[in-house]
Each structure stands twice: as C-alpha cells, then as structure tokens.
C-alpha cells in the first residue's frame, strides 16, 4: 500500500513540475494564440544562466535563480519583439514554424557555449535527507519545486483574475480588435506574456536542472514533453495546466510502476501520455478545460 501511495505522491510532485514547465506555454497561448516550440530551449537557458552565475561568478544560488528568472524575462520579451511582432495576424503554421526556427537558433547559440555539449550539476544547497511521511518520501528539491510551482501558479492566477494588466491580457486573448478599441496596447500585452513565460521557464529550468543535472539534450526535451500536458488541460487554462500536469505525472508514474516489466512491456512512461492524450482529444477536442471556440463563416 505504501508503494501505491508513494507512486501517487511521486506522480503529484512530478506532475507539478510538469505544470510549472507547461505554465509558460499556457501564458503565451492564452494571450497571443502562439504555441511556443522553443520553450524547452528557454527552460535550458534559464538553468544554464543560473549555473553560470552560481559556479563561474560566485553568486549565491538563490540570487542566481532570481537573476536568471529576470534575465529570461527580458530575453523572452526581446524574442517576442524581434521575431514574433511581425507575425501578428499570420496563419498559425507560420507562427509554429517561427518558434521551431527559434528553437534551432537557440540550439546553435547554446552550442557556441560550453553548455551545449558538457555535463554539469548545481552545487547541493538543500538538505540531502528526504522528507519522510508515513513511509512515503519526497526529496527537498522536489518539495521546493512543489512550493515554487504553487506560489507561481497561485500568483499568476491572481494576476489574471484581479490585476488590471492581467485583465487586459485576458481581454486581448478574447478579442484583439475589441481590446485595441478600448485602449489596450496589444503588442505590449504580447511582450508581457512572453516575458512572464520566460520567467516561469527559468524557474522550471532551475528545478529540473537540480533534479536531472545539467545536460542540454535532457533539458530541452522537456519543451516537447510538456505538450501533452497543456493540450490535455486545454491550451488556455492555467488550472488546466496544473491538472493536466498532475494527471500526466500520475500516468507516467503508474505506467512505470505497474506496467513496466509486467506484460513484457517497458518504457511505457514515455509513450502513455501521448496515448491518453489522443483518447481524451477524441472526446474533448479542446482539452479538459480549454475554451470551446465559436466559429463563424
């Protein structure tokens, strides 16, 4: 029974990290209807910037996490300004391809540095002993990840519900022309959406980097791994990202915990999310919490 609870807890913790990584995608899609395929690369850059500051520049690790989040905030904002501003109103395929191209460019830029091909790990800064409750254990890294995720997601939910900027962002996502006519600067909102996404990506990068170690291939793969998460939850719902993330985390852990090695199967943790995704999409074409678009001729 402990095994079962352990899987549930692990699934929830892993799922919340997925949710954090997925948050950036949702933030961008919510306001500008762009799916960002370069998200994994931004996650990786966030982790590398934090590592560079901590190890090469000797900045205390918590500050370097925060600085890294600030840097990616502006980095993502400038990416939007330079590459995506021109594409407002272009067909969706163009926008998808721009982010794919962007991913390739960032790949190239990271290969210019030492991080492209070498492995590193963050210096240990949290207690090594796990937190243990009734035989179920969670590592400090995961716990801190869980806390940061809840803080960030709570913060963003509040931001979208209550703050003026948040409300204007929602307005833009609903109707760009309508919001322009009431005096909202649409380009500014887009920039802000990318910037906040960059910030959350850096946070995700730092946490994932702490868990897996810093390997570029491993880190940027998370940009694709989180796609089923956001699609499952619905592309424009923060709550959806959280629930989608946790569902995916649970599916993966249960698949790895009960399917693997039992029916001659193996490695199902990687493929199950996509299978479940396809099945759910057949019944809910806009994900679990996505807004159903009304189309007119």
């Amino acid at each position: 029974m402990t095994y079962f609870f352990q899987i549930i807890i692990s699934g929830v913790v892993v799922g919340s990290i997925y949710a954090l990584a997925a948050l950036g995608l949702v933030l961008i899609y919510k306001s500008s209807r762009v799916a960002n395929f370069a998200h994994g690369q931004i996650i990786a850059s966030g982790a590398f910037i934090a590592f560079f500051l901590t190890v090469d520049k000797g900045v205390p690790i918590f500050f370097s996490f925060i600085i890294s989040m600030i840097v990616t905030f502006f980095l993502a904002m400038s990416v939007e300004r330079i590459f995506l501003r021109r594409l407002i109103g272009e067909p969706i395929i163009s926008v998808i391809m721009v982010t794919i191209g962007l991913a390739s460019i960032i790949d190239g830029l990271i290969y210019f540095t030492k991080f492209g091909t070498e492995n590193y790990s963050f210096p240990a800064f949290l207690p090594q002993e796990p937190v243990s409750l009734w035989g179920v254990s969670i590592s400090w890294t995961q716990l801190v990840g869980l806390i940061i995720t809840s803080l960030l997601i709570g913060g963003f939910s509040w931001f979208f519900k209550k703050s003026t900027v948040g409300i204007s962002m929602r307005a833009v996502s609903d109707d760009q022309f309508g919001s322009m006519s009431v005096g909202i600067s649409v380009p500014r909102v887009f920039g802000l959406a990318w910037a906040t996404a960059g910030l959350s990506a850096a946070a995700a990068g730092c946490i994932i980097g702490n868990i897996t170690g810093l390997n570029f291939e491993t880190l940027h793969a998370f940009g694709i791994v989180v796609f089923p998460v956001v699609i499952l939850g619905g592309l424009d719902s923060i709550l959806g990202a959280v629930i989608g993330g946790i569902i995916m985390g649970l599916i993966q852990q249960f698949a790895a915990g009960y399917l693997d090695g039992n029916f001659g199967l193996s490695g199902t943790g990687d493929v199950m999310p996509y299978l479940v995704l396809l099945i759910i999409l057949l019944f809910k074409p806009h994900g679990l919490f996505g807004i159903h678009e009304i189309e007119r001729v």
């Binding site: 402990t2 095994y3 352990q6 899987i7 692990s10 913790v13 892993v14 990290i17 290969y111 492209g116 091909t117 070498e118 492995n119 590193y120 790990s121 210096p123 240990a124 090594q128 002993e129 796990p130 254990s137 590592s139 400090w140 995961q142 994932i208 868990i211 897996t212 170690g213 810093l214 390997n215 291939e217 491993t218 793969a221 998370f222 791994v225 993966q252 852990q253 790895a256 915990g257 693997d260 090695g261 193996s266 490695g267 943790g269 990687d270």
Partner: protein, 412 residues
C-alpha cells in the same frame, strides 16, 4: 613603362617560384587521407565532442613530431549530429576522396553502414562497442571490450565478491533501445550458461524526474545490484534518487541496499559532474586508463591536451582518451605497413591490423591493457578496469576480462 613591366615580370617569377617551392615541400612526404564522422553536436555530443578533440590532437601530434617521417596524416572530422543519413553521406565523400581508414561513431550508424564497409573494403574503427557490430562483418575493428563484456564482466565481479550466501539478485536499468538491450540478452545467455546471478527485473528508463517508486519496488524484491547500461544523464538521476532515499550501499554489496554498477557510457567524469556525491561507490567497467590514476599514461594524455590547449574538462575525459586510441590504431597500422615496405592502402592496413597480436600487440598509453587483433578476434583491448567512484574520482580497483563472454560468443 618598360621597367614597370620588368617589375611585374619579376614579381610573377617570384610567385611562381614560391608556389613551386611550397609544392615541392608538400611533395616530400605522402599524405594519408582518413575520415571520421561523429556527433559533435546533437544527441550524445557530450561524448562525441571530447572524442573529436582527442582524434584531432593525436593526428596533429603525429604530424608535428614526425612520427611517420615525412609522411603526414590528413583526417577530416565531420559532425553528423547522430544522424545515420549524414554519416552515410560523409562516408561516401571520404570514399570519393580515397581514404585508407575510416573512424565511425554511433551503434546505429555502424550497423547501418556495415554492408558499405564490406563493399568498400576499408578498415573501420567505431566508437560503439556493441557486440552486434561484429556479426557478419570483417572490416570493423572494435578498439576495446564490448558493452556486453563490460556488463557480463561486472556480473562476474558481483558473483565473485558477493559476501552473503545465495545467488545475488540483480536488476537491469537500460536505455530503451537496441543499444541498451544488447548486453541484457548476452547476460541472460551467460546465466543460461551457468553464471550464478538472478535477473529480477529489467527497467527501461524514459525521461523520468522521479524514480522513487521504481527504487522501492526493486528494494522490496530483494535486489542488491543494479546493472546500468545507458548514458550518464538518466543514471545520474537514478543515483541521486537512490541517495536521498538512503538506498545506496555504503560499501560494495551492503545488505538491504543497492549497489550500482555500469558499462562504458554510464560512467566517467561526466557522471560525477551530473550526480555529484550521489555517484560515490558507483562501479564502472571501462577499458581506458583514467587520468585520476596518476600514472605514466595519464601524464602523457594530459601533456597532449596541454600541448594543444585543451581545457581540464576535456583533458581528463575518458572520451578524450577514446579519441586518442581511435587515432592511434590507424597511425600504428600505417607505421607498420610502412615498416614492412608495403603500399599504404586499405587492404594492407587490414592485413597488418589482423596481424597485430602476440609479440606484435600494441600498447597504448590511454588503454587499460594491450591491444591485439587477429582474423578471429576484432576486439582490441580485452582487459577492462573496474573503477569505483571515490571522493569525486574514479579509482581502479581491479582489472578483469569476462570469461563467460568467450563461451557465449563461441556458441554463436
């Protein structure tokens, strides 16, 4: 006007002379063309990148110190980003250019190009030590012991050093590909042939962020040893999880805990870089000499890296050593072909490589033992060191070679 023309003429004359002069200098020695294709960027580039540096530096060293007299080696190194199609393109180009020896990289591309190697009759040294490379192939020469020899050798080591009675229970933690599964099958064959271990479970990893469930399951099944065959990053995540759960054995084979052991590509300085303290006690089989050994060979490797301005990380990497060995094999073969007063061509290199045994075996400073080939044995260094991570460094604790692999291979 006339003087101007004369000046022009003189300048031209000087230029012609210079060209002729440089050309004659180049004509003084022969140039042997070699080719290499590997992943300098893209997947597994953490291994491929230092490897390319090792190859490059050794050939520079050969040319700079005139190891082959006036003759020089020209080796083109291309990045294929771990794509077989690109590897094939590179190989075809090298063939067009008339290479005498080819250096390859991944398991996938080696298997994919196996037929072409046979057709082209060019000796090949790959960086993949997959057992399957040798099936139906004559041209492929593996530099060191195969992954299967690593894993079975480690399993034999476990049997020999298992303290309590009973059959040691092991689990496999492998890469979800043929690369990962190959050694598992060979171990199963070894068990069938009488190796006394019990394979309790096989785990094929994905992009896991948490292995708690898997580790608790292994422990509850009484597993004591985890044999890893993958790349460093997933193994590092596993080790970290095990450490925080307090499951990692403090000493080899500690009762009720897990001892982690792994094959060539799981270990090395990269594992320590990724896993930190969690790597302590990890046992690793590798046929290369680590620089942490502080012996003669390590010194030579570090000197070479220093000579060509490599950073510490590359200099101490066993992948850098891999690159050096991959370059040393053709260098040595060319040298011996020249000494035998034969023409340096693929056929003669092939012949010389097959004769590289007995008194003629080659001792490389980066390898853990002597390198020998014969028409029946295309595995170079049969000896492997078992290293243990101690205080952030891999230290050699034993030199072994797998006994069961010989019987399995003979049975094929």
């Amino acid at each position: 006007m006339k003087s101007k023309k004369a000046v022009l003429f003189n300048v031209l004359l000087v230029l012609v002379l210079m060209v002729a002069f440089t050309a004659s200098v180049q004509a003084g020695g022969k140039v042997y063309k070699l080719g290499m294709s590997l992943a300098i960027t893209g997947p597994t580039s953490d291994a491929g990148n230092p490897m390319s540096k090792g190859v490059e530096d050794w050939f520079k060293f050969v040319n700079d110190t005139k190891l082959l007299g006036d003759d020089t080696i020209e080796c083109v190194i291309r990045d294929d980003q771990y794509e077989n199609d690109a590897t094939k393109r590179n190989f075809e180009e090298y063939l067009d250019e008339g290479i005498v020896f080819y250096l390859n990289y991944s398991t996938g591309s080696t298997l994919a190009l196996k037929k072409d190697f046979e057709d082209a009759k060019v000796p090949v040294v790959p960086a993949s030590y997959h057992e399957g490379n040798l099936i139906d192939s004559t041209q492929i020469f593996l530099p060191v012991a195969t992954y299967s020899e690593n894993i079975v050798g480690l399993a034999e080591y476990i049997v020999a050093n298992h303290k309590e009675g009973g059959v040691p229970k092991v689990a496999f933690f492998i890469h979800p590909s043929a690369f990962g599964r190959g050694p598992l099958e060979d171990t199963q064959k070894a068990v069938a042939a009488g190796l006394k271990i019990e394979i309790v479970e096989t785990v094929e990893h994905g992009k896991d962020l948490d292995s708690t469930a898997m580790l608790t399951r292994l422990q509850s099944k009484g597993v004591q040893y985890v044999l890893c065959h993958s790349v460093q990053s997933p193994v590092a995540t596993l080790l970290k999880d095990s450490q925080r759960l307090g499951m990692t054995a403090k000493s080899f084979g500690e009762k009720g805990k897990l001892t982690f052991v792994g094959a060539h590509y799981t270990g090395g300085n990269d594992l320590i870089a990724l896993a930190g303290d969690a790597a302590e006690g990890f046992l690793w089989a590798c046929s290369y000499n680590m620089t942490s050994e502080n012996n003669e060979g390590a010194k030579k490797q570090l000197d070479l890296a220093k000579k060509y301005g490599r950073d510490d990380k590359a200099a101490n990497s066993h992948n850098y050593a891999t690159g050096i060995l991959m370059a040393q094999i053709p260098t040595e073969a060319i040298k011996r072909v020249k000494e035998a007063k034969m023409e340096v061509n693929p056929a003669n290199l092939y012949k010389i490589l097959n004769e590289m045994n007995g008194a003629k075996e080659y001792k490389s400073f980066v390898a853990a033992g002597p390198l020998s080939y014969s028409p029946k044995d295309h595995i170079g260094v049969d000896v492997q060191n078992i290293y243990q991570a101690q205080g952030g460094q891999f230290k050699a604790i034993k030199s072994v070679s797998s006994e069961y692999m010989k019987t399995i291979r003979a049975g094929k």
